[in-house]
């Protein structure tokens, strides 16, 4: 039997060679799918693993809390709470910095660290330089991103305002912390601006002395004991800290750095499943197309094999081996490409996230999974054709496939026959006779269109996000943040600065929103009605007004709280007198970035029971005088920081846009390849099915051009038929992506631009054209005589 199989093996190789370009198309699409699978899965696993490793090695805390000033002795009571593991208390202070080459003030977050040993929690990785030394009160460690953005190296000094006095902080080391992988100020900010905001770690003794916080702390981080419930611990910590101006403890889910990093990792998880699935489905589809055609043309061979006594298993194995060809090739090449891409991407991500342990090693399990998945896709693709081959009764297979029966169709029923020449009727009859096949071919085109469209949609989405956020929402030039809530006077002082064209004040407070058992920590923004510099804009670009009373919440927040318009939520203010109020949800917005709660400034003041206090103001500046304004702001003690819109925009581009860009580019390139693969194989299968007819027509005296037009005419019809479905499917996939990517940080707007349609159209039609050219070449080489020698 083994010896008997040998000729079959030779047949496998011959058939593969004969079908080489179609098999190559399958292999290439398979390679793309597997490459995406290996890259994205590896990346996902590596990011998650690195994050976990980083968190563990540097003892990242589980629960975080801040207060105004709590006695050091409270630490022991926190540690004694049931469920609490280790506790680290410290002083954390935001201070104004005078950064080299920057007119506006920068903000430094001073975080206390022990002078002589590593912090018990939220430890630091020292990238360069050395640890601070006791007795040298001006020494600090700077975060790497901040140092790099400002060109700071150990030995440099930065002037800073500590408790009202200018003082020079000397950088002795560059460090990384699991707490600030993603380094932002907090309270409504979403994107990092490493130039203007950075973390500086300072000796706890020096920091305490500078702010008269000796024997006290204003920030705590703790770990949970095994089996502890986070919510219970948070409640306990809140109770202990409440008398000392606690602003509400929160878990990792609300820790902004972890929130961002985790949601990015989550995003790679989604794409790593969604994208390869689409690609491998296409591979299966293509394989099915090629093998089904092969089995149809090899009916007689199958019959003879069966007549010679080859059993069904041997036949099945034979055709599965044919499927294996492109799969082995595609999966092999795809794995290689994926491994290479993953390593390259890991370098990008390592720089992006600044992981201290950035060693990338390929997880071979992912490659093994990829090979399994590839085999699975091949099996699914081959199954239909293989079953047909196995089920073919030998006797029937020996007879030529009876001339396909046709009947008069739509042309006749509509009475068009006089205007449709006989040759063109072939096209219509073929489509009418096998509508399912035509439908599948059109579906292939639709799939190709949809994939390209989805890729481009994601480019557009980022563009639209940027456009909405930075042209429609944030229209200020700079946002001034006060060191503490200030009276309306502070706002007026800004108006009088030369170069300030417009000032719009705001108030922002940390709150915990509660509705039944559901809670969410967020920032509650009080915005003056009719604000022009900071507006509320929906994903579709519609501008909203601040409701005169009640809350306007973004839809993510609303769904996290299970709240709808008209419901009431409890607002627990986490600063000052910490009022707790019930407020009605007046509107739900569909904003694009961040997840915010907004009220009118007046309503917020009423809720807080304060007069007209302000947290800061949005400024429109006369660009020529902006540097002078910034310098003046730096001299203003009440101003703790300035957010510059341009910088936020760059922050957006460097974070979301950049990490997205890589995977989207990959997707668009591969989508184009897939589109070409589908269209090309469709045309090749059509040629194989029509080859005989076309050769007959050539014998009868039809010119090459006429025959080519006939075949391609059918392809054009199918392509045109597939396009509308493709646009619909593309819209659906875009919706799916937009829907799946909803997070606290951003939502993807479902915007399909005309250019996206045009690009998808161009890619598919371009692929169709290239395939047409390739097929045309084959039509020119049709062996007329060979066709006449064989029966149908």
């Amino acid at each position: 039997m083994v010896a008997g199989l040998r000729p079959l093996h030779r047949k496998v190789l011959r058939d593969l060679w004969h079908l080489r370009s179609q098999m190559a198309a399958v292999a290439v699409v398979m390679a793309c799918g597997i490459a995406m699978f290996v890259t994205l899965r590896s990346m996902h696993g590596w990011l998650r693993g690195t994050q976990t490793q980083y968190y563990e090695a540097y003892r990242f805390a589980d629960v975080f809390a801040s207060a105004r000033r709590a006695p050091a002795s409270l630490a022991r009571r926190i540690a004694a709470l049931p469920g609490v593991g280790a506790v680290r208390t410290r002083v954390v202070m935001d201070v104004t910095l005078d950064l080299p080459g920057l007119d506006e003030p920068g903000t430094g977050r001073l975080v206390g660290i022990p002078e002589q040993r590593a912090p018990m929690l939220n430890d630091l990785y020292l990238r360069s330089g050395r640890w601070i030394q006791p007795g040298h009160e001006d020494e600090v460690l700077a975060s790497e991103a901040f140092a790099r953005a400002n060109g700071l190296v150990p030995g440099d000094a930065i002037p800073a305002v500590l408790n009202g006095r200018w003082q020079r902080l000397r950088i002795v080391g560059i460090a990384l912390s699991p707490e600030y992988i993603y380094e932002i100020r907090g309270l409504g900010d979403v994107f990092p601006d490493n130039r203007r905001f950075g973390v500086l770690w300072m000796g706890e003794r020096a920091l305490g002395a500078a702010f008269q916080m000796e024997g006290a702390f204003n920030d705590a981080a703790l770990t949970l004991a095994p089996g502890a419930t986070e919510a219970d611990v948070i409640d306990g910590v809140d109770r202990l800290l409440a008398p000392y101006g606690g602003t509400g403890a929160y878990g990792r889910a609300d820790q902004i750095s972890d929130l961002f990093v985790s949601s990015e990792i989550e995003e790679t998880e989604i794409t790593s499943v969604l994208i390869p699935t689409i690609f491998l489905a296409v591979t299966a589809f293509l394989l099915n197309m090629v093998l089904a055609r092969l089995v149809a043309t090899q009916r007689d061979q199958i019959a003879i094999l069966k007549a010679f006594g080859y059993g069904s298993p041997a036949i099945a194995v034979h055709y599965l081996q044919l499927a294996l060809g492109p799969v082995v090739l595609g999966a092999g090449a795809g794995s290689g490409l994926g491994i290479w891409l993953a390593a390259a991407l890991a370098r990008v991500y390592a720089r992006f996230y600044q992981f201290p342990v950035a060693e990338y090693t390929q997880d071979w399990r992912v490659v093994a999974q990829a090979l399994l998945v590839a085999g699975g896709a091949a099996l699914v693709g081959a199954l239909g054709a293989v079953l047909r081959a196995v089920r073919l009764p030998p006797a029937e297979a020996m007879r030529p496939e009876a001339p396909a029966s046709y009947r008069a169709g739509i042309v006749e029923r509509l009475g068009f026959q006089r205007w449709v020449p006989a040759a063109e009727r072939i096209i219509l009859r073929n489509i009418e006779r096998r509508p399912l096949r035509a439908l599948l071919a059109a579906a292939g085109i639709a799939l190709a269109t949809a994939i390209v469209m989805t890729g481009w949609f994601m480019f557009d989405a980022i563009d639209v996000m940027k456009q909405i956020q930075f042209e429609s929402v944030q229209r200020y030039d700079a946002m001034v943040v006060f060191d503490l809530p200030r009276s309306a006077r502070a706002g007026w002082d800004l108006v009088h600065l030369d170069g300030v064209r417009r000032v719009e004040p705001f108030r922002v407070v940390p709150v915990r929103l509660r509705r039944g058992p559901l809670t969410k920590r967020t920032a509650l923004l009080g915005l003056a009605p009719g604000s022009e510099l900071q507006r509320l804009v929906d994903r579709d670009g519609a501008v909203r007004q601040v409701p005169p009373r009640g809350l306007l919440v973004s839809d993510v927040l609303a769904s996290q709280l299970g709240a709808a318009v008209g419901d009431t939520v409890t607002v627990e203010v986490l600063e000052g007198k910490r009022p707790v109020r019930t407020v009605i949800v007046a509107a739900v917005s569909r904003d694009i970035i961040g997840s915010s709660a907004t009220m009118s400034l007046e309503a917020l003041h009423a809720l807080l029971g304060e007069g007209g206090t302000l947290s800061g103001a949005y400024l429109a500046l006369d660009q020529r005088k902006a540097p002078a304004v910034y310098r003046a702001l730096k001299e203003t003690p009440a101003v703790s920081g300035v957010v510059v819109r341009e910088a936020v925009m760059r922050g957006f581009e460097d974070t979301i846009a950049e990490s997205f860009w890589i995977s989207i580019s990959m997707m668009v390139v591969f989508a184009c390849i897939i589109a070409a693969g589908i269209v090309y194989n469709g045309a090749r299968v059509a040629l194989s099915e029509r080859g005989r007819e076309l050769a007959s027509l050539r014998v009868l005296g039809f010119f090459r051009g006429e025959v080519t037009r006939l075949l391609l005419g059918e392809q054009v019809l199918l392509t045109l038929g597939g396009l509308p479905g493709g646009f619909l499917l593309g819209y659906f996939l875009a919706w799916l992506v937009a829907y799946r990517f909803e997070s606290d940080l951003f939502r993807i707007p479902l915007v399909i631009r005309q250019t996206t349609i045009v690009y998808s159209l161009a890619v598919v039609l371009g692929a169709a054209l290239l395939s047409a050219l390739a097929v045309r070449r084959r039509i020119h080489r049709l062996d007329l005589i060979a066709v006449l020698k064989t029966r149908e």
Binding site: Y406, A408, L697, F703, E792
Partner: protein, 236 residues
């Protein structure tokens, strides 16, 4: 023969190169076909009959030698010119009828009349082969003989100068084969079309004006029948 030669082949050779081996399908064949005659080509399988006919019909080109059809030189390697030649002057009939399954009998014929210069009416052509009743049937609804007659109707509908038939009865039983041969004889007699029929059935030779025998790529014998038998008089 008084009629002028429509085909003039001189020194035709066809060599297939298969790796190291050279297969001579034709070796320096000279042949004339005259207007209006009915020629039968006989010879064992592999003797070069199809190759010769395909070259005459402009489907293939010789390795050496020349073929003239009236004033056309068929040896030039110009696909467009040869296609035009087939389109205007040649009707082909093959063993496997090569009908388009998605077109009715009438449409299969119309396929050719649509592009011919002075075609007959497709229905008339089908009438000539005795299929006037079945014009709207699809190939799948016709018997083998009927399909072959549609192929003949398709070949003659353009009123070709020459009808080239490669084993037209090869796939048919005796009775059916007879009907097909009758149709060919009719066309030759009524329209004056030059007809060349390949067969390896020697008994068909009786209905020809001339019988050409081939072996190993050579014409071994040309025989002129004193009088042609009707297909019904043939025995095989």
């Amino acid at each position: 023969m008084d009629a002028p030669a429509v085909f003039e082949a001189r020194g035709l050779s066809k060599v297939y190169r298969m790796g190291e081996v050279e297969v001579y399908a034709l070796r320096e064949v000279d042949l004339d076909l005259f207007a209006g005659e009915f020629v039968v080509l006989l010879g064992p399988s592999g003797s070069g009959k199809s190759t010769l006919l395909n070259i005459l019909g402009g489907l293939d080109t010789p390795t050496a030698g020349t073929v003239r059809f009236l004033d056309h030189d068929l040896t030039v390697d110009d696909d467009r010119a040869r296609t035009r030649f087939r389109r205007e002057h040649v009707g082909f009939v093959f063993q496997f009828y090569n009908l388009i399954p998605s077109l009715t009998a009438l449409e299969n014929v119309a396929l050719v009349t649509d592009i011919a210069e002075r075609p007959m009416d497709p229905a008339e052509a089908l009438g000539l082969v005795g299929l006037g009743e079945r014009v709207h049937h699809f190939p799948a609804q016709l018997s083998g003989g009927e399909q072959q007659r549609v192929a003949i109707a398709r070949a003659i509908a353009k009123q070709p100068d020459v009808l080239l038939c490669d084993e037209p009865t090869g796939a048919l039983d005796y009775e059916t084969g007879l009907i097909v041969l009758q149709a060919l004889a009719d066309v030759n007699r009524r329209l004056g079309t030059t007809v060349a029929v390949i067969t390896h059935n020697a008994s068909i030779a009786g209905m020809a004006d001339r019988v050409i025998r081939m072996r190993s790529g050579r014409i071994t014998e040309v025989e002129r029948n004193a009088h042609r038998l009707a297909p019904t008089e043939l025995t095989w």
